[in-house]
């Protein structure tokens, strides 16, 4: 019997953790039970990007987009949608829509997106190589091995203008060219899948949703620079991605696309997976190589750059997952095609993990040059819970904040840097009025202090000192001189630290001092935390005109700090209160005031 429908169930980490696998199994069972087992194909795909609304199920050809699906909804989806051809309205994303279908194109979240890196995520079953091949997978490799010289490949990359997506933004063609030009019969290709930014999961989703794109690209690089061996250095915390990569590698070997004599040529190349072990600094390329060699992941000075002296002192091309995923498309469609997308300074697209106080949190891919406003408001749907936008943080612990005045800035490497932030790997964290800038900055510094490998003192000592100052400020013990001191220490760290971690660790401070100095001053001079986050600087009060004496707060207070009789105004004893905020969350009458 011919297939009439495809059902795509999201198998990304977000949806998997919300029982997507059970939905998938229930759909299979329900399809069998309803006698449509032969006419629908049910697949598990990679992340659709719309994780906030997960688990996601999409049904083709209608393109119906079902959100927040539960395992017990499976039967209804089969019986109604598949058997009777009626959409299950209550599960559609936009239920109010009068249109017949809520198609993917109708969903604003997807309208401004442009997918190169995530081209297959959510469309194919990542565990089946045939589906990758059906969408022009491995055609680029075939073309490279059949018709292109290594220099042709480099030329194509050069035309494309592709820059590294791992943070530094170094032109990819140049890196490959360095390695290609070194005479050595032992060279290596490395994929950096250590994804260290603590609020970002672009690389994880790419690997989970489309592992072959990375394998194909690494093989192309092997041919181009003359390497026979590649390593994928991936966080051990990403088991799903690791398993999908392993399966993909095996399938590629079975198809003659990896291993000995690839596609019948005399070119051989293989890939191995190596696990990281939870050290942020190992995302830095020289530390990563030390870790690959089985050592403590300590960075070393550059030059020499890995392109010339890398793994086991051999020339090594190391690129980020997202950089890799762009390559087959550049070969297929040409460097000129790629270079039309984006801005003068930055070509192609960028994937962001849009998170924080945003309505539609998820994974978005947009052309370079898209504005922050478009991403946050048009794609992300604005700030959650109707709060006021405060800032957006990019570049993770190495980056900085961007404020309301700059929301119309087109995003590319240059503009972000001018604003004192950076592209980074793609974390984009939205903050609202409730978030305290000093507190968030302290969070980032705490992170880099924890993760400093301790090898050089500017980073080890400077970072700790900065953290301690921020800590003091959040406790109301800051002094006005601290601001100058932080500037000085920050500048010294940037200059004298050995690796990117220490060189960029002060960025969150320098950037927030630039845009939010007032907020620092409020903490230091007035001993106040304007957003009410820093516990030592706030008190909870009960507003006499709002309190109706329902006693709800008094019952919940863990330390019995609230007194008052029924229907009488309640009072908080400041000496007992531990500022847990439970009363604030409990009161239904907005009678608790934080100040």
């Amino acid at each position: 019997m011919a297939l009439t429908n495809y059902i795509l169930v999201c198998g990304g980490t977000g949806c998997e953790s919300a029982k997507a696998d059970q939905i998938y199994k229930n759909l299979l069972t329900a399809a069998q039970a309803s006698g449509v087992g032969d006419t629908v194909q049910i697949l598990k795909t990679g992340c659709f990007g719309f994780c906030e609304q997960g688990p996601i199920v999409k049904i083709l050809p209608e393109d119906s987009f079902y959100v927040q699906v539960k395992p017990e909804d499976a039967e209804e989806l089969i019986k109604e949608h598949i058997v009777k051809g009626r959409e299950v309205k209550r599960l559609l994303y936009d239920k109010s829509e009068s249109k017949k279908h809520a198609r993917v194109e109708d969903i604003q979240f997807y309208q401004k997106q442009f997918r190169i890196v995530l081209r297959n995520c959510g469309f194919i079953n990542p565990e089946d190589i045939d589906e990758y091949i059906a969408r022009e997978g491995y055609v680029a490799l075939e073309r490279v091995l059949g018709d292109m010289s290594p220099d042709d490949v480099i030329q194509e990359l050069k035309k494309s203008g592709l820059k590294g997506r791992g943070g530094a933004g170094f032109p990819t063609w140049l890196k490959w060219n360095f390695t290609k030009d070194v005479e050595d019969d032992e060279k290596y290709i490395v994929c950096n899948a250590d994804e260290g930014d603590p609020g970002a999961y672009m690389d994880r989703s790419t690997l989970e949703g489309d592992p072959h794109s990375v394998l194909e690209a690494m093989t192309i690089a092997g041919y181009t620079v003359g390497a026979q061996m590649g390593y994928i250095y991936i966080r051990a915390e990403y088991p799903l991605a690791i398993n999908r990569l392993k399966a993909a590698m095996q399938q590629a070997r079975d198809y003659g696309l990896l291993g000995e004599d690839i596609l019948g040529t005399d070119f051989s190349f293989d890939i191995e997976i190596r696990l990281g072990a939870g050290a942020f600094v190992c995302g830095e390329e020289t530390a990563l190589l030390a870790s690959l060699e089985g050592n403590r992941g300590m960075p070393r000075p550059r030059p020499p750059f890995p392109a010339v002296k890398g793994l086991w002192n051999k020339p090594t091309v190391i690129n980020n997952v997202e950089t890799w995923a762009n390559i087959p498309v550049i070969i297929l469609k040409g460097g000129d095609w790629f270079a039309q997308i984006g801005t003068e300074d930055s070509k192609g697209t960028k994937v962001f993990a849009l998170t924080g106080k945003i309505r539609n949190s998820g994974l978005v891919e947009v052309p370079m040059g898209t504005t922050l406003r478009e991403i946050i408001y048009d794609i992300g749907g604005g700030i959650a819970n109707d709060k006021e936008f405060k800032a957006v943080q990019t570049g993770g612990p190495s980056g900085g904040v961007i404020t309301k005045e700059y929301l119309d800035t087109p995003i590319d490497y240059k503009h972000l840097q001018e604003l004192g932030s950076m592209m980074g790997s793609g974390g984009m964290i939205v903050m609202d009025e409730d978030d305290c800038i000093v507190d968030v900055t302290k969070f980032y510094l705490g992170f880099t202090v924890d993760e400093s490998c301790g090898k050089c003192s500017p980073c080890r000592v400077g970072g700790r000192t900065l953290y301690n100052m921020l800590d003091k400020i959040t406790k109301g013990e800051g002094e006005i001189e601290d601001i100058d001191k932080m500037h000085q220490i920050g500048k010294a760290m940037k200059k004298a630290s050995l690796c990117g971690l220490g060189q960029t660790a002060p960025n969150p401070i320098l950037s927030t001092l630039r845009y939010f100095e007032k907020e620092y001053l409020a903490h230091i001079k007035e001993k106040k935390c304007p957003s009410g986050k820093c516990k030592e600087l706030i008190s909870y009060y009960i507003l006499a005109d709002k309190c109706i004496g329902c006693m709800a707060c008094a019952r919940k207070c863990p330390v019995a700090a609230i007194t008052g009789e029924r229907r009488k105004i309640h009072r908080i004893d400041q000496d007992i209160c531990i500022k847990c905020g439970i009363c604030y969350e409990t009161c239904k009458f907005d009678a608790i005031y934080v100040g």
Partner: protein, 158 residues
Amino acid sequence: MAEQKEKFTFSDELVSYIKEWKQKRGNLIMVLHRVQQEFRYVPKEAAERVAEMLDVPLAKIYGVLTFYHYFKIKEPGEYNIQVCMGTACYLKGGDGLVEELENVLGVSEQEVTEDGRFSFESVRCVGCCGLAPVLVVGEEVYGKVTKDQIPGIIAKYQ
């Protein structure tokens, strides 16, 4: 003492894994991952055995074990609860979850409850920021967790 030895016997699979990896360069971290997978942490006896099998100094093994957060050299609780303290989860109240776990379990991070049943640690982004704040127990991921759900979640494993 005999019992101790018994406890950390390497399974045949582990032994053949180590033998296979012994041939490869840069194998130490992969081997330690495999050991931790077997024992949930890397006990001293196991580290010694690895030193012997791979022919590397014990000091180097400890150098590596202590450098990487992922490796544990102390036995964790039967259920090791992971609280995400990635940026997205932090902004959405991950720190509150840590405090609440301290209260409910009566231990601080990396410590084990007296009955050996629970321990907890904060980890970096677990990759479901859309569900922030996130807490992981074993294979189970809990999303959009609030403080008052914590006792209930723990009770499930008691």
